[in-house]
Chain length 339, copies 2
DNA sequence: CGATTAATAGAAATCGATTTCACAATCAAT
DNA sequence: ATTGATTGTGAAATCGATTTCTATTAATCG
């Protein structure tokens, strides 16, 4: 199907040297006579030679590929990070593969198998499950890993993300200080570290201030817009009493909540206050402007890229290199003060 | 560095057959005795064998990789499309590489060279330049291509996108019908087909209604938020008269415009009406809600994926397969009626 | 001046699969 | 019974690079 390409053999034949010499000129990793080198370089240019990465990678057991594995690359949180990684890696000769688990550990497993069979050089991953995501094969194969956003239980690996417990605690306290007592939460998936820690932060703040948690105001939104929308819609239809404030555990669910509340004519913040873990796109142009903590995804992406490159260059896995980034509190007008 | 892997040779030795037979079992493309087959499959399972894609790809001159090359994968327009493509391709055994040109033809060229040396199986591309983007090498190598969103002059290739001229014309006419006569435009890059066609659509509508175009209200935003922001900021500082309405040629520039107008206390729509080619994220929750045409990126992505898969399966390039998708007019409250 | 070292370069092995070729054995058909 | 087609298999070539060995020449050293 594909037309024949210029190979090292052609260059060798053309210049009358061996492919070994051509390779040495190409990689500049072994002394080659200056005249020979010139001749070879000239031939490469003339024949428009481009080394075949697949062949090179087979021999050297590399791929010059780095993967980012996340729940959904459509989430601007991850997209930003992916872009940063790509910016950093491209100049170093790597391409980025983006993989979507759709929050499914099964698909995640498939992805990892596939990447291993590609001799993937490094991966950044936001694990779909803090207990069951299996990175052992990657670790055995000595593939550099960076955990992004989410951690894995009892596993020491480089991590870049925020202090979810602390931030969730602060956000909840913000509501409490505004006088709220009936505070609900839209949880993400509790089998991710972020989902769990944010929920724990919320509980801690409630406990600390002697507030009880009402089961009926704990919603499971699975970190997905649609799920959050659905679960709230269902609740609204019951006609049960609403909490006075709601803490949404990520940007997607916040959007789902805003949509359904708008449709149900529940005014934010008059009828219900809302805070969000994670900013929405175009945050500052929305109404209401949601009060939230925002993560600096550009910075996170850069740090992830640095940790990846570090390991790639030093050809060894880092075990421990947590980078906890500060999140920024973004006041909006989605929280009403209660007297 | 990496630990030794189970190879075909191991399976062959373990079962006492040749690697040829193992390969035949693996690919199921040649008759193999049922007993032998069982034995080999059992061995594969027992030794946890996974075929090495790099080796396979070298021999078969493939890569099982598909690339999407766009200006900036952070743009939700492209991210949506990329996710769709990934969804479709992953189940067929492909991984998606995302590449960012940052609107630079030079970087784009580098990217294409790199992908070629990877034996890339197919690419979807939104060319950075309608004249100078060079796909000839890809075409020579018979790599399936799908143009996304943007076309290339005088080149017949499968395309999925919208009728930019028509939609731009309609949008402008919408403003005109609302009574606007002083209508400015924030252009994208005019050396892309979308940038050019949208500008032409605007001009056509203006001409058709006997309206003159004032040079000072033609802004160059280069399809980038920051550029649009900067160019408008500069204009605002001159204190020159503003148009009564502004047509922004893509989502990013619309955002830049909204930001700078807000900062400059130019109220939309009271002081200035704004329409946008392309929706913003969280459109429906913004204020003002921008009147715009929105493209169905999910549908576009699916069509791109289908065209890619079609070519991959039939192992031949399509030359002509334009899919012009309908855009949806989204009325907002960002346009004031002028009497 | 003989011996060790450095520079230079080719032949051949290698990475891990697929595929061609050759060849036996089996089966059907004339 | 001879021919021809089909099944089943392995040895070896191949994909296009890198790397190890080996060898030659030139340079340096004691």
């Amino acid at each position: 199907m594909k037309s024949k390409n210029v190979t090292m053999k052609d260059i060798a034949k053309y210049t009358g040297v061996s492919t070994a010499t051509v390779s040495r000129v190409l990689n500049d990793n072994y002394p080659v006579n200056i005249e020979t080198k010139k001749k070879v370089l000239k031939a490469m240019k003339e024949l428009n030679y481009e080394p075949n990465l697949v062949a090179r990678n087979l021999r050297s057991r590399k791929s010059n590929l780095v993967a980012i594995i996340v729940a959904d690359i459509k989430n601007p949180y991850y997209t930003n990070i992916a872009k940063q990684i790509d910016d950093y890696l491209f100049t170093e000769g790597y391409n980025l593969i983006t993989c979507n688990t759709d929050e499914s550990p099964k698909k995640e497993k498939e992805i990892i198998r596939m990447l291993l069979s590609r001799n993937i050089d490094a991966i950044a991953i936001a694990p779909s499950d803090s207990q069951n995501t299996d990175l052992s094969e990657l670790i055995n194969q000595n593939v550099p890993i960076v955990l992004v956003d989410r951690k894995i239980k009892d596993l020491q690996l480089p991590f870049v993300g925020t202090d979810n417990f602390k931030e969730a605690c602060s956000l909840t306290e913000f509501l409490i200080k505004k006088g709220h007592k009936k505070i609900g939460i839209i949880n993400g998936t509790l089998n991710t570290s972020t989902g769990e820690e944010r929920f724990l932060g919320y509980k801690k703040a409630m406990e600390d201030h002697g507030l009880s948690i009402d089961e009926k105001w704990i919603y499971n939104g699975g970190f997905e817009e649609k799920k959050a929308y659905d679960v709230l819609k269902q609740f609204l239809q019951t006609g049960d009493e609403l909490p006075t404030a709601l803490f949404s555990c990520n940007n997607l669910m916040t959007k789902g909540a805003m949509k359904v509340l708008k449709e149900g004519n529940v005014n934010i913040p008059d009828d219900l206050s809302l805070i969000s873990f994670g900013a929405l796109a175009n945050q500052d142009l929305m109404c209401p402007r949601i009060t939230c903590v925002e993560q600096d995804t550009t910075y996170i992406g850069r740090k992830v890229a640095e940790l990846l490159l570090d390991q790639l260059k030093n050809k060894k896995q880092l075990k421990n290199a947590s980078i906890i980034t500060e999140s920024i509190f973004m006041p909006g007008n989605s929280v009403k003060e209660i007297l």
